[in-house]
């Protein structure tokens, strides 16, 4: 630990990142370029999020790291251990206890508070990239609010699939101004982006971009008048805790086609089970089932 500065990055780098964060918070949804540093992990592991976390952590923080809603995946465990080692901060799996949550692909089910920061790992920050690969052009489109292309993408979805089939990284408009990629969270989570008491920070390491949503920012999912946005999820209750309003993973339980639906947010699910809620297959657990 003594080989590293607190939270691995040197103070100058952290200051640079904090300046980018402040700018991002001042212009909600706007992608701020930053000089992404090499981190001791591959890009696919969320180096953008890790740098944001490093720049935000203080010794008093309590860190939670989730990957697809779970605290126990290799990715989540590695990042958590990394900050335990380099920053010596407390860690937790409980959403309520955490002051900083780094996430990949989910927003916790437990409502966030004003005392929390949610850091997203972002692979591709540019929502217009799909149809316009030229960076100079997409920058111009943001500057001039030329967002017709986003609806071209949704149009294609409906033409192809009979509905808006985009189910992850569903594009949003922030405070009526910037169109933003919310990172590959399921569209079920999109409504939680809006009017959220916590600070939400988005970091793309390879692409060197930071963007942010300050507390209580208005975030609207794009759609058509005759094909309105729907925060859909599998039409089931959680088989472990019985929750009907949480995002579910489908888990194959045996090789005879058995399967169960369980909360993707493991902390949320375990909390409900502890509180006495029970689903169809209560008593089993996700780990043993898999």
């Amino acid at each position: 630990m003594s080989d590293y500065n607190f939270a691995y990055l040197d103070e100058q780098t952290k200051r640079m990142i904090r300046r980018a964060i402040l700018k991002a918070l001042a212009i909600p949804g706007y992608q701020v370029p930053f000089a992404s540093r090499e981190m001791p992990m591959p890009y696919g592991w969320g180096t953008g999020g890790v740098q944001l976390t490093a720049a935000c952590l203080t010794p008093d923080d309590c860190l939670k790291v989730i990957d697809q809603g779970a605290d126990d995946t290799t990715n989540a465990v590695s990042i958590r251990k990394f900050f335990q080692r380099t920053a010596g901060v407390a860690v937790t799996q409980a959403t309520r206890e955490a002051t900083l949550i780094q996430t990949r692909h989910r927003i916790p089910e437990t409502p966030l508070t004003e005392d929390q920061v949610l850091v997203y790992q972002v692979p591709i920050p540019e929502p217009l990239r799909f149809l316009e690969p030229r960076e100079t052009e997409t920058r111009k489109m943001h500057e001039l609010e030329e967002y017709g292309l986003m609806h071209v993408k949704l149009y294609e979805d409906i033409a192809r699939h009979g509905q808006i089939a985009t189910s992850y990284a569903y594009p949003v408009k922030v405070e009526g101004r910037y169109v933003m990629d919310p990172s590959p969270i399921p569209k079920f989570d999109n409504p939680k982006l809006s009017d959220c008491p916590a600070i939400q920070l988005f970091g793309a390491g390879r692409e060197q971009r930071i963007y942010a949503l300050p507390p209580y920012t208005q975030v609207v999912s794009l759609d058509f008048d005759d094909y309105p946005f729907e925060a859909s999820k599998p039409d089931h209750d959680c088989d472990l805790c019985g929750a009907s309003d949480s995002y579910l993973d489908e888990v194959i339980t045996d090789d005879r086609g058995g399967r169960m639906f369980v909360c993707s947010d493991t902390d949320f699910c375990a909390g409900r089970v502890r509180a006495g809620h029970a689903g169809r297959l209560a008593g089993r657990n996700k780990g043993a089932a898999a």
Partner: protein, 252 residues
């Protein structure tokens, strides 16, 4: 009499020491089709892209509907470009989105100007495919699956769907088979008349301007050497270069 829709004075565009075009001045009147002819390299495309704001001229003034185009904020110019103006590229793939369906290509300008009803976008796309003689069953196909002539007709539909007033066309029939060209010209002529479009069309093909243009400008080495009513210029060319062009010596 009404005012010109486009007015150009003293326009010059250089590429370093080389002249792209220079000393260009003309008025385009509402509903008029102006042809710009000249051999390859004479500055036709340079002039057109300066007029449409794709390139910035070193000198001169361009006035559209009383507004100074070169002094305009970029936001405003780009807004014009997707509402009141249209630009048909020589190569359809430069003017189309090859990665999305024909329907999305037609709908893009509508969505860019705020259309948010899928059903109505669809109906408008079908109507426009019909108008450019593309079978409506092709609405969900990508332009990559279309022939050159169909791609060009799709590009035209995509441009005209917002009912523009001023259309720039750069060699719209270039690179197409002769029979395909004829059909496209016919179609263009009908649309121009029906919609009352003001058009500036660049071509090196005199047959195209004879069919479409009310008035002609002949360019050579970046300068206009002769201009006038199409029939007059073609039937009684005054400038030696125009005479050469008309006698088809320079025609490719």
């Amino acid at each position: 009499m009404s005012a010109p829709i486009l007015s150009v004075r003293g326009l010059e565009r250089r590429y370093g020491a080389r002249i792209g075009c220079t000393g260009i001045g003309f008025d385009l009147w509402p509903g008029e089709v102006l042809g710009i002819v000249g051999e390859s390299g004479s500055g036709k495309s340079t002039l057109l892209s300066c007029l449409a704001g794709h390139q910035r001229p070193e000198a001169g003034r361009v006035t559209y509907d009383g507004r100074d185009v070169l002094a305009m904020a970029e936001t405003e110019r780009r807004r014009l470009a997707r509402t009141e103006w249209a630009y048909v590229h020589q190569h359809a793939r430069d003017g189309l989105r090859m990665g999305v369906s024909a329907g999305a290509n037609v709908g893009e300008r509508l969505m860019a100007t705020g259309a948010r009803h899928y059903g109505r976008l669809r109906a408008q796309a079908i109507d426009w495919l019909d108008r450019v003689e593309i079978d409506q069953t092709r609405i969900d196909d990508r332009p990559t699956a279309f022939s050159g002539g169909m791609q060009q007709r799709l590009q035209i539909a995509r441009n005209l769907v917002t009912g523009p007033r001023l259309v720039f066309m750069d060699e719209p029939t270039g690179g197409l088979d002769v029979s395909v060209q004829a059909r496209l010209l016919d179609l263009l002529r009908g649309l121009v008349r029906d919609m009352g479009l003001s058009v500036i069309i660049v071509t090196h093909d005199l047959a195209v301007v004879r069919l479409l243009a009310d008035r002609l400008m002949v360019m050579k080495s970046g300068r206009v050497v002769e201009q006038g009513l199409t029939d007059q210029v073609l039937d009684d060319p005054q400038h030696a270069y125009t005479q050469l062009l008309v006698s088809s010596v320079l025609q490719v």
